[in-house]
């Protein structure tokens, strides 16, 4: 039986300050995060347990070194259990650990609100004509890309090579419903007017540890943030940042389902592509969605045909596996999107960012004769991702009813403050809310308290599913202070 797919996303947001000649993105990102955290508890993230240089293939440490080069930068944990920090030269938001793909979609959307509020707060520090602008995108159109990563909890015993063999083709072909759309091509890829994905042009390897150079389709970072003898965390770096809720739900839901099927041995055949790396941008550049890909065994199939095969296997698997009911919804949305993309891709404009963006540009072409390479077209494509609810074009389209929502604004706002209730993120988020003055550091798998004794008290949380409301709410209610809590837990000395 596959282990429960605890999951989450991490997104590096684009940042710029309008009319600031000497804009420094590291300082700008720090300003944004400090402004948001300023009025709230400022709990530092601790790096004690993090080892991003560890390789899942088991052959040692490429580029091992300090746990995180940016550890000196601003890095806070929020009451919803999320982490907000400066990564390289971007503000980054990691969702808390979520119980299912729908919940992870909600907390991914909550990240946009966090960043929008943070930008508004930072605005107070800027000059009259300057404006803080944050975009949930993955490319500046000039050859620079920054990531949106997905994380899925896997059983340690699943051989890593099985993931490579089965998951690569799935990731390459899912772009038809995971892309956020981009004008032009980058990174030396063949020119094109518009393509499905923001990220496709940047993938150059099949498997590897890198995330910033020679990006691989399958990333091997092995940092489980939990009991390493039982778990892996699969770090998927090939997705786009999505604005559409349905699209994030599809992206996370289909991957979680496929990985469960893989763990349970329910994928009868590994469909290997003849040339995975060139297929990544090949799929992204084909707006007809009908160009066939060559498989390693000589057969050919379109990305949608391959996705139908995965859907069929996943559907069969779901009949016999004891899965959460949310996966029925995943299968239904998956079937609907493949059917619509096959019949008329434009009919998916209410669910997919690349289609919504493309259709908007087509509307402008029809009305104004707007050329693909017109700066106004580039502005429209960029502003689609603006997190300011008044300016962001995704929000305009959603309010006009052109894009379907899965949540209302109240649900998203609640997720900005409150943690998920069925994972250890609940315990982390509640401790930030309740014991802010005594909680000195937090990370994914532990909390550190200063309860006024000589030694700091460290509370480990090695099980992602332990620490939910059902398990800990009584304990938290009984503990007026962190000292009470630590005593009740019998916590280790730091």
């Amino acid at each position: 039986m596959a282990i429960h797919k605890v999951l989450g996303t991490e997104t590096e947001y684009g940042i710029t300050i309008r009319n600031q000649a000497e804009f420094n993105p590291v300082l700008g990102s720090s300003m944004v995060i400090n402004s948001y955290a300023g009025g709230r508890a400022r709990i530092q993230w601790s790096f004690e347990e993090e080892t991003p240089g560890r390789d899942a293939r088991g052959f040692g440490f490429e580029g091992a070194g300090p746990a995180d080069l940016d550890s000196g930068l601003v890095n806070v944990v929020l009451t919803n259990g999320a982490r907000l920090y400066v990564d390289h030269a971007h503000p980054e938001y990691s969702t808390p650990e979520c119980y299912d793909p729908l919940e992870a979609t909600l907390y991914d959307k909550a990240g946009e609100v966090v960043l929008a509020r943070a930008a508004a707060a930072a605005q107070a520090l800027l000059g009259d004509d300057e404006r803080m602008m944050i975009h949930k995108n993955n490319s500046d159109g000039k050859g620079n890309s920054y990531g949106t990563h997905e994380n899925y909890l896997l059983a340690r015993e699943l051989p890593f090579n099985d993931i490579v063999r089965h998951f690569t083709t799935f990731l390459v072909t899912r772009q038809v419903y995971t892309g956020s759309g981009k004008l032009g091509a980058e990174n030396g890829r063949q020119q094109t007017e518009f393509q499905l994905s923001q990220r496709a042009d940047f993938f150059e390897e099949e498997v590897g540890l890198e995330t910033t150079l020679k990006r691989p389709i399958i990333n091997t970072r092995d940092e489980p943030h939990g009991d390493a003898s039982k778990y892996r965390r699969l770090h998927v770096i090939i997705g786009d940042a999505n604005m559409s809720e349905t699209q994030t739900f599809l992206k996370l839901g289909t991957a979680a389902l496929m990985l469960s099927a893989l763990e349970d041995g329910a994928l009868p055949e590994a469909l290997a592509l003849a040339d995975p790396v060139n297929s990544v941008w090949g799929v992204s550049h084909d707006l007809t969605l009908r160009r066939s890909l060559e498989l390693a065994d000589g057969r050919t199939a379109t990305p949608i045909e391959l996705q139908w095969q995965y859907h069929e296997w996943a559907h069969k698997y779901a009949q016999v596996a004891d899965l959460d009911p949310v996966f029925e919804r995943v299968l239904g949305e998956w079937e609907r999107i493949l059917t619509d993309l096959e019949t008329d891709p434009l009919s998916a404009a209410d669910r997919l960012d690349w289609v919504a963006k493309y259709r908007l540009l087509l509307d402008y072409r029809e009305r104004d004769g707007l050329a693909w390479d017109d700066p106004k077209a580039k502005m429209l494509a960029l502003q689609y991702h603006d997190v300011d609810p008044a300016r962001g074009l995704y929000y305009k389209l959603a309010r006009a009813g052109r894009i379907a929502r899965l949540f209302d604004d109240e649900q998203v706002s609640a997720a900005v403050n409150e943690p998920p209730t069925r994972t250890r993120a609940y315990f982390r988020g509640e401790c930030v809310s309740r014991y802010a003055t005594e909680l000195v550091a937090a990370n994914w798998d532990s909390l550190v308290f200063d309860v006024g004794e000589e030694a700091l008290k460290r509370v480990p949380m090695m099980e992602p599913l332990r620490g939910g409301r059902e398990l800990v709410s009584d304990l938290l209610d009984r503990s007026e202070s962190a000292a009470d809590l630590v005593r009740a837990l019998g916590g280790d000395d730091g």
Partner: protein, 64 residues
């Protein structure tokens, strides 16, 4: 049996709908164009000014 009845009712409804739609087809098309125009006008009102300069200066550092 009940299913069959429901299907028949639906078919009858859609047939009569089709007739009505045929009559007002041009009006619907015009209304749709107007609605898209309104939306594009609204978008134009919030679209960043000096797009050319803005997109030229929009440069990010690589990340991840």
């Amino acid at each position: 049996m009940a299913d069959q009845e429901r299907k028949q009712t639906r078919r009858t409804e859609s047939e009569s709908d089709a007739e009505v739609i045929e009559e007002i087809d041009t009006a619907v098309g015009e209304e749709l164009t107007e609605r898209i125009d309104d939306l594009l006008d609204e978008i134009d009102s919030v679209l960043e000014e000096n797009a050319e300069e803005f997109v030229k200066n929009y440069v990010q550092k690589g990340g991840e």
